[in-house]
């Protein structure tokens, strides 16, 4: 690659004096340090728990066999794996929408989304690794013997590999220009920026080029994304052996709930970023209202799916479906189920009210973001676990499963790890794209 030519002209406006980087990059504010240390600590606890597990096997978790052992063999790890994959939905979708439909108002949150996608995909991959007693054997054998007829194959090629890589490419291509601009300043990241810029010259031709690339990437990624999330749905939806799993609605259901949790996360993250990086001027209420509407659309669709689901399992259920639906609606899992429904409905109501009154408040939108994620986590858990403990097709005694501290520690560790990745990124690179105006 040929080195980029550095413009001699002093860049104007947008950000402060020479050498100073925008969005508090490189500045370790006390609050950030607190955040960093806290997250590091939680991650460490998670890692410690993981060491326990690696050393003594999954026996240290609350997981046990199905059937005679009357436990659940898939638990928190799988639930959160599904959740994290779901979250990854947001970024690329938003970014792609922006590119395809030219939604300028969302431009500023585009990179947050892309980053969110990359991070959550990594967390998803780690969550599934945590579920395996022999991670290395798994990685090798998956590459060596991977079989397309297993729904896991899609998950693991499409989602983990294809989707993740595509998102990285996308993130990179859309970040080069900023890297080039920052490379013009003296900072401890200069070399990094220059490397990333890879000789970017901010010409009209280059911009046209990038627009074309990103457009086509978006076009190819969107279907990939639908497929990817569907395959996760297929992991369950193709299984007739467990009550409440088999069904055509699983795949679309997964896609939509993925959207809900993803957008919800994006909203929260955007709100944090805008206050953390002095970009209130960039990320405006418009962005939030936009995301809000998007979320509302998906949420309504999902609530519709849920209604259909409830009707299906209660109207004329088979013996095992009945046992399961009882466990869900009035039994062991009722509090989780109705908790989820409540949070989703409240979120929908909040959004509808704002949409009708046309008066959007960032606070309220963020609140919905939080609510829908609570709902999403709960729903993922309810998809994975109850079908294993209740309504088994042979007269096995009813099972029980309670995640123990090891599992929780690892899951929270993963969240903290994600937070760390984003936090560090924010201190190295502008998480909000620099403006068009920052140009010759």
């Amino acid at each position: 690659m040929t080195a980029g030519t550095i413009p001699t002209t002093e860049p104007k406006g947008g950000h402060q004096s020479t050498g100073e980087l925008p969005q508090k990059i490189g500045q370790l504010s006390p609050s950030w340090i607190v955040f960093f240390v806290a997250m590091l600590a939680v991650t460490a606890v998670g890692f410690y728990a993981y060491l326990l597990q690696v050393n003594n096997g999954l026996i240290v978790t609350g997981l046990r066999g199905l059937g005679t052992m009357a436990g659940a063999t898939w638990g928190l790890y799988v639930a959160y794996y599904v959740y994290f994959i779901g979250v990854s939905f947001a970024g690329i979708t938003v970014a792609a929408l922006i590119r395809i439909f030219r939604i300028e108002k969302l431009e500023p949150v585009a990179r947050i989304g892309e980053l969110l996608t990359v991070v959550s995909l990594i967390l998803g991959a780690l969550a599934i690794m945590a579920d395996l007693e022999h991670p290395w054997r798994a990685i090798v054998n998956l590459f060596k013997y991977g079989r397309p007829q297993s729904p896991f194959f899609g998950t693991f090629t499409m989602v983990i590999a294809g989707y993740l890589f595509a998102s990285l490419v996308y993130l990179y291509v859309t970040s080069r220009r900023d890297a080039a601009l920052l490379a013009e300043r003296d900072s401890r990241f200069k070399r990094l920026y220059r490397f990333l810029a890879a000789g970017y010259t901010d010409t009209r031709a280059q911009r046209r080029l990038d627009r074309r690339v990103t457009f086509w990437l978006a076009i190819t990624i969107l279907p990939l994304l639908v497929i990817a999330h569907s395959t996760v749905g297929f992991v369950f939806g193709l299984q007739a052996g467990r009550p409440g799993w088999f069904g055509a609605l699983q795949a679309p259901g997964f896609v939509v709930l993925a959207g809900v949790s993803g957008i919800g996360n994006l909203i929260m993250l955007a709100a944090i970023v805008r206050s953390a990086t002095r970009t209130k001027g960039r990320i405006t209420i418009d962005a939030f209202s936009w995301l809000g509407k998007l979320l509302l659309g998906l949420l309504i669709t999902y609530l519709y799916f849920t209604a259909v689901e409830i009707l299906t399992i209660t109207y004329q259920p088979g013996a095992s479906e009945l046992t399961l639906s009882e466990a869900l609606l009035s039994g062991t899992y009722a509090w989780i189920f109705w908790g989820a429904i409540a949070s989703l409905v409240i979120a929908a109501v909040l959004l509808i009210w704002q949409a009708l009154t046309r008066r959007w408040s960032i606070g309220l939108v963020v609140a919905t973001g939080v609510l829908v994620n609570i709902g999403a986590v709960a729903k993922r858990y309810l998809i994975v676990v109850p079908s294993q403990t209740h309504g088994q097709l042979l007269p096995y005694s009813t099972g029980t499963y309670t995640p123990n501290w090891v599992e929780w520690a690892i899951v929270f560790g993963l969240f903290a790890l994600g937070a760390l990745m984003i936090g560090v990124f924010m201190k190295i690179f502008p998480i909000v794209p620099l403006e068009e105006t920052d140009t010759p």
Binding site: L51, L52, V54, N55, H134, W136
Partner: protein, 867 residues
């Protein structure tokens, strides 16, 4: 799980220190360690062979082929040629492999170092030291009075020659386990029919079976422990459409194989049987030829309840009694029973101014009041079900029909009762007599498809003994044999504990000084644990011979001798399934593990030290007498025998090619089919071996009179009646708040204390539980899995006992009954710890909780409280 976490912490710190360890774990997940053990296994060339042996647990000694790798037994499989198990095994059979290798077996002889009555502390000792100590303690007692040396054993394995020989050679007093099993049933059959056994069907021919009690698919019964009966029962159902009526508070015994389930109240079986008798008489289902010819029904009975007898000729020797008289309808006069053409069964006759009646007439009058309504009320069922069963039993009996078997025409009565272990109740002896009476009315005993008692129709010596029961004046020996308390008494450890607590009450002067326990483990295996805890510490010296440190040994043994499990010779044992006869011998699957030894070796060495091994009447001599070994095959009385040689001599004496090698090669010796002449009472040389079947128990009445004479309390004599006579069992008199009846039963996977030491079997049996009908649970506000306190009450002493367990709901139980399986409540070897209590902890023994024949009852009233 504090232990785990501690371990994990250690592991983690280690891991944190050396990340490489973690890394390798991460990379290879510790798989290599596992494969390593395999490679070890596969490294060298493996020598594979098989050894013939027999089961060491069940009482039917199934034939087993042990598969060995380099001399290590890896699997036990059924021996195809063995008639009893035909190439199959039950869970116990396969699982005993874990017993062979159990590291918790006793490895060396042990000598106690702490006080008795608490968890024992022992020191390892050599065989010499241990045996010398026993000899030193035993000799003086043998010199003073050998009867004061108590020798007690659990279940016999194979032919009990070697232990009989020990008892005979030393002159010790023997106690068995029969009083906890089915002895009262054996006594009833011996009394009424003369055969040694408890009622079982002729499965190849029987069409209608009253499966009475918990046995049929749970524990086999007579002569078999499990496999054989189920096999024959299923074949009978498929081939002959055998109909099974399950009479028990639990459905489980016959389960899906029951065509009809009649859940009657516990311990009301006699009432039900008596009502059946009444109905059969009412319906006229009577085999008069049988009753007249082969039973004492026609015997004329006076107002005193005694038979009218012919004059004794003057020249007759002292003590001979005259033949019982009957009323001959052809001559219209009395005649000795064996001289009358047509003896009357009914009516009343005035002889010498006295009105006398055939005992059958008395029976008719006796059962007159036992109506279906009466029985239904007592048993907790409906009159028409009583009638229905009586009707079908009578009809199916096909009275008058015959069948030709082996060329002999034999009466055909395809109805039978299977009632093993039904004697385990306060009215046990008379209940079994009532059941036998049912079979007798239709002439089923000894008929084709009818009521069988033993595999061959032999008359047992007890039949003659029971003609007049000897009831002596005190003082009595501590087993109360021939006492005014128990005119019939096989030896009951339970009553021994009562005697030891109050010898005066039982007019006993000398208590046992020292004791030796052979396998038996009274502390957990026998009901009323409290009584054994009180008394088994009273022996001056107690030695226990057992493979594991039994609870009794743990608390009371001075010396413990390690017995081998399967790694020893035992035998010979019957391989008969009642149709094909055979014999087998257990061959050791390997050398005894640790320092354990086979029982025969142990007794030989002990007798040598006691000076009772050699010479006339010595142990060797007794072995020759009891095995037996005759003529040139007899062991020389002056040289120490070798165990293999004992069985080799026996095999050669039986004419087997190569002696013991025959069994090493074939595993079992098939003698061929059991002929009809041997099996059916009607077909034996003199029918029924010449025994007159006692529908009427004259000698029981005589015994009762003697008991009264000698001033025995009513509790001891009230059940010595000529006919089975119903009375409400004592336990029913507990206060009403004790509203449930506790019953106990065996699980298929358990037999004898030893199975509860085998973790593979306790795994299958699961934890202890209290079975309860859902209706009852709902009433008490209890749900599946709740912990509860079960409190029993002794209706005689008012004592209460408690245990804690967990409820398991089952609709296969009468709502007024709760149940608990046996083989729990151990504490000594950790194998069987923590699985829950034994019902024996809250059962009672002694007056009111034992039969008139000194046999244990397993019924008690309880209440269930939330734990």
């Amino acid at each position: 799980m504090p232990e785990i976490t501690r371990r994990t912490f250690v592991k983690v710190s280690a891991a944190a220190a050396g990340t490489t360890a973690v890394a390798s774990k991460f990379l290879f997940g510790g798989l290599e360690t596992v494969q390593h053990t395999d490679s070890l296994l596969l490294a060298q060339q493996l020598q594979e062979d098989t050894v013939h042996t027999t089961c060491w647990i069940g009482k039917q000694d199934c034939g087993i082929v042990a598969r060995r790798i380099d001399g290590r037994v890896i699997k036990l499989e059924g021996l195809e040629a063995h008639p009893k198990n035909r190439g199959t095994l039950c869970p116990k059979g396969t699982a005993q492999i874990a017993a062979v290798y159990d590291p918790q077996r006793i490895k060396t002889p042990l000598i106690r170092t702490n006080a008795k009555g608490q968890t024992g502390e022992f020191r390892a000792a050599s065989w010499d030291e241990a045996l010398n100590l026993i000899a030193e303690k035993t000799k003086p007692v043998l010199e003073e009075d050998p009867k004061l040396f108590l020798w007690q054993k659990g279940r016999s394995k194979a032919k009990a020659f070697y232990d009989k020989a020990f008892v005979k050679a030393t002159g010790a007093t023997k106690l068995g386990h029969g009083a906890y099993c089915s002895d009262a049933g054996y006594r009833a059959a011996e009394y009424n029919l003369g055969c040694h056994g408890v009622l079982h069907p002729d499965f190849k021919e029987t069409r209608y079976l009253l499966s009475w009690g918990w046995n049929i698919t749970a524990a086999g019964g007579n002569k078999t422990c499990w496999i054989t009966w189920p096999q024959q029962m299923l074949d009978a159902k498929e081939k002959n459409g055998l109909k099974i009526v399950q009479i028990d508070p639990r459905l489980r015994p016959a389960g899906p194989h029951a065509d009809e389930w009649l859940p009657i109240r516990p311990a009301t079986d006699m009432a039900f049987a008596l009502a059946l008798c009444r109905e059969l008489i009412q319906l006229g289902y009577l085999d008069e030829p049988y009753l007249k010819k082969f039973t004492n029904s026609p015997y004329l009975t006076g107002p005193d309840g005694l038979f009218l007898r012919a004059e004794v000729p003057a020249d007759a020797e002292e003590g001979t009694v005259g033949k019982a008289l009957v009323f001959d309808l052809t001559t219209g006069a009395t005649a000795p029973f064996d001289e009358a053409d047509d003896p009357a069964l009914t009516g009343a006759y005035v002889i010498d101014g006295v009105t006398v009646k055939p005992s059958f007439q008395l029976f008719i009058e006796h059962v007159e009041s036992y109506t279906p309504e009466w029985a239904a009320d007592i048993c907790g069922t409906t009159p028409d079900r009583v009638r229905g069963i009586a009707e079908e039993f009578g009809r199916q009996a096909q009275i008058g029909s015959t069948k030709v078997v082996d060329g002999i025409e034999i009466p055909y009565r395809p109805v039978a009762i299977m009632a093993y272990h039904m004697a385990q109740q306060e009215l046990g002896f008379q209940t079994l007599r009532a059941m036998i009476s049912v079979a007798m009315l239709v002439g089923a005993p000894g008929a084709v498809g009818g009521q069988l008692v033993d595999f061959t129709w032999k008359v047992h010596k007890n039949y003659a003994k029971f003609e007049n029961l000897s009831v002596k004046e005190g003082p009595y020996d501590y087993t109360l044999g021939k006492s005014k308390f128990f005119p019939i008494n096989t030896g009951f450890p339970g009553i021994l504990t009562k005697v030891m607590q109050d010898p005066a009450k039982y007019e006993v002067e000398k208590l046992p000084k020292i004791a030796m326990l052979h396998y038996v483990n009274p502390l957990t295996a026998f009901p009323s644990q409290a009584d054994f805890l009180k008394t088994y510490g009273m022996f001056e010296f107690l030695s226990v011979l057992t493979p594991w440190l039994s609870e009794t040994a743990d608390y009371f043994a001075d010396v413990v001798l390690p017995a081998a499990t399967m790694e020893k010779y035992e035998g010979p044992s019957s391989a008969s399934d009642q149709y094909i006869d055979g014999k087998t011998i257990r061959l050791p699957v390997m050398d005894p593990l640790f320092e354990s030894r086979g029982e025969i070796d142990i007794y030989i060495d002990l007798c040598e030290r006691l000076g009772v091994l050699y010479g006339e009447g010595g142990y060797i001599d007794q072995v020759n007498k009891n095995l037996p070994l005759k003529d040139e095959f007899a062991l020389p009385l002056d040289e120490k025998p070798d165990v293999r040689d004992i069985f080799d001599r026996w095999s050669r004496m039986e004419g087997l090619e190569g002696g013991i090698e025959f069994f090493e090669k074939n595993g079992v010796w098939i003698k061929g089919p059991v002929s009809a002449k041997k099996r059916y009472g009607y077909a034996t040389e003199t029918p029924f071996g010449g025994a007159v079947h006692r529908l009427y128990g004259e000698s029981l009445l005589v015994a009762q009179n003697k008991q009264k004479e000698l001033g025995a309390d009513e509790v001891y004599y009230r059940d010595y009646t000529a006919f089975p006579t119903w009375r409400t069992p004592t336990f029913e008199q507990s206060p009403p708040e004790y509203d449930l009846t506790l019953i106990s039963y065996h699980l298929v996977v358990h037999k004898q204390s030893r199975t509860s030491m085998i973790p593979l079997l306790t795994e299958l049996s699961g934890k202890q539980r209290l079975d309860m009908n859902p209706q009852t649970a709902e009433r008490l506000g209890i749900t599946e899995g709740d912990e509860v306190i079960v409190e029993s009450q002794n209706a005689v002493t008012g004592e209460t006992r408690q245990l804690r367990t967990v409820v398991a709901l089952s609709s296969g139980f009468r709502p007024d009954v709760v149940g608990m399986p046996h083989h729990f409540g151990g504490w000594s070897p950790k194998n069987n710890k923590g699985l829950g209590p034994s019902p024996n902890e809250i059962f009672y023994t002694g007056e009111g909780y034992m039969a008139c024949t000194a046999d244990q009852s397993y019924h008690v009233k309880v209440r269930v409280l939330k734990g």
